[in-house]
């Protein structure tokens, strides 16, 4: 399977890439790690006339904390997060997801920002971005703008990025000492699309009630989804097994999975419930809360 041919533009700076995207408009696609785009091109599901390669842009390869956020540049590889000591120590949700995205080889090329921009219905990073309340930074004609992840993820393979624009980075709020998360994923084999997955992050108040809850599910609908009802049910409450079960029961209500070789729709819906429940319980365990 060979992709259709394309015009190749190598960019060495964000300005160069942006100029190329402005010039070629809807004909052009950004090529970051390519681990979703290249397979899609091979299957002829994508056929961009122009690829703007941003891999050589050194100024977009970064992973650091700034102004209360973990900021991840557009060419930062998944593997950079997986092996980062600060992330291992303080970001339990990110650590968990960074070990189950695709497979270990793919993680050396694949990028976090690219995966969010691809917005696959089975994306792991999209669900993680929802649960951790991330913000995307997009460069457009009038400078850069910030887009909340909820507004950024529009539909399957569709984001709020407009023609000629490009994503620069994703910002994830730094979890405080009373925040923990969990990523739960069922996959048939490493590297396969998830059968179902859930991203959870909980922040506690000093009085032992839940201050903030992030709950998202993926691979069970046209897009990764925030389980708003579960979050609302959790916030302000004291954690209990009953509360976890009740919140988890909200997940299948918004799931609309397709039956495929990975399982029936009923099975996947029930796994959304099970995985959200496990994610909540694991987050609480990490917070030292006994149920």
């Amino acid at each position: 399977m060979f992709p259709a041919n394309f015009e190749y533009v190598r960019s060495h700076s964000t300005d160069e890439a942006f100029a190329a995207l402005q010039q070629h408009g809807s004909e052009a696609r950004v090529l970051a790690g390519g681990q979703s785009l290249i397979p899609a091109m091979r299957y002829r599901l994508a056929r961009p006339a122009v690829l703007v390669d941003i891999n050589p842009i050194k100024e977009l390869s970064y992973l650091h904390e700034k102004d209360g956020f973990l900021v991840i540049g557009a060419t930062t590889r998944d593997a950079a997060l997986e092996f980062d000591q600060n992330i291992l120590a303080r970001y339990s949700l990110i650590t968990a997801v960074s070990r189950v995205v695709a497979d270990p080889i793919v993680r050396h090329m694949g990028t976090v920002v690219g995966s969010i921009c691809h917005n696959d219905p089975s994306g792991d990073w999209t669900a993680t971005a929802l649960a951790s309340r991330a913000t995307m930074i997009v460069r457009g004609k009038d400078g850069t703008r910030e887009i909340s992840i909820d507004d950024f993820l529009v539909d399957s393979f569709t984001t709020a990025i407009e023609e000629g624009e490009m994503a620069i980075e994703v910002r994830i709020p730094i979890p405080d000492a009373h925040t923990q998360g969990s990523y739960q994923k069922i996959e048939r084999k490493v590297g396969d699309y998830a059968t179902c997955a859930a991203a959870v992050q909980l922040s506690m108040n000093v009085d032992g009630t839940i201050r903030q809850a992030g709950v998202a599910i993926t691979a069970v609908g046209h897009i990764a989804m925030r389980v708003t009802a579960a979050e609302a049910m959790l916030v302000g409450q004291r954690p209990s097994l009953e509360l976890c079960k009740a919140a988890a029961a909200e997940a299948p209500k918004i799931a609309s999975p397709n039956a495929d070789q990975r399982g029936s729709a009923e099975y996947k819906k029930d796994m959304a419930r099970v995985l959200v429940g496990r994610g909540l319980q694991e987050s609480l365990l990490r917070l030292g809360v006994s149920l």
């Binding site: 041919n5 190749y8 390519g34 497979d103 080889i105 050396h108 090329m109 590297g191």
Partner: protein
Amino acid sequence: MSQISLNINGKTTTADVENRTLLVHFIREQAKLTGTHVGCDSSSCGVCTVLLDGNPVKSCTVFAIMAEGHEIKTVESLAPGGVLHPIQQAFWDQHGLQCGYCTPGMMMTSIALLEQNPNPSEHEIREGLSGNLCRCTGYNNIVKAVQQAATAMSTQAADD
């Protein structure tokens, strides 16, 4: 068409190819290095794994043109002068191959894995190789081979 030059195993190969040429095809057809195999054609199996600046990548999921300016290492680089690399010796000794089709990819991934983690547990080896499939299902001996290579390479490093 673009003229591209790639540094493969320290040697530069220059050729006129279409932009859509995948790295694995450039390695096999332009550089004539056929040790790197094509398996699933869908970035699942890892038999096409090569090292790009020391990191394992699936060369069926990288355009050749993206690799310009980077260092590519294939299985052919492992035994200069015919002396087997410790990972090759270990796959031989432990019978870490049956049909051998996945072996080049397995070895390139293993080398990167041992570079990152010189003393991996069995679990870490299995996890590290989880992007490489062996359709003969000969995983146990592959794991033993990586364990042998880890010991051999750390002894070698201590001697150096």
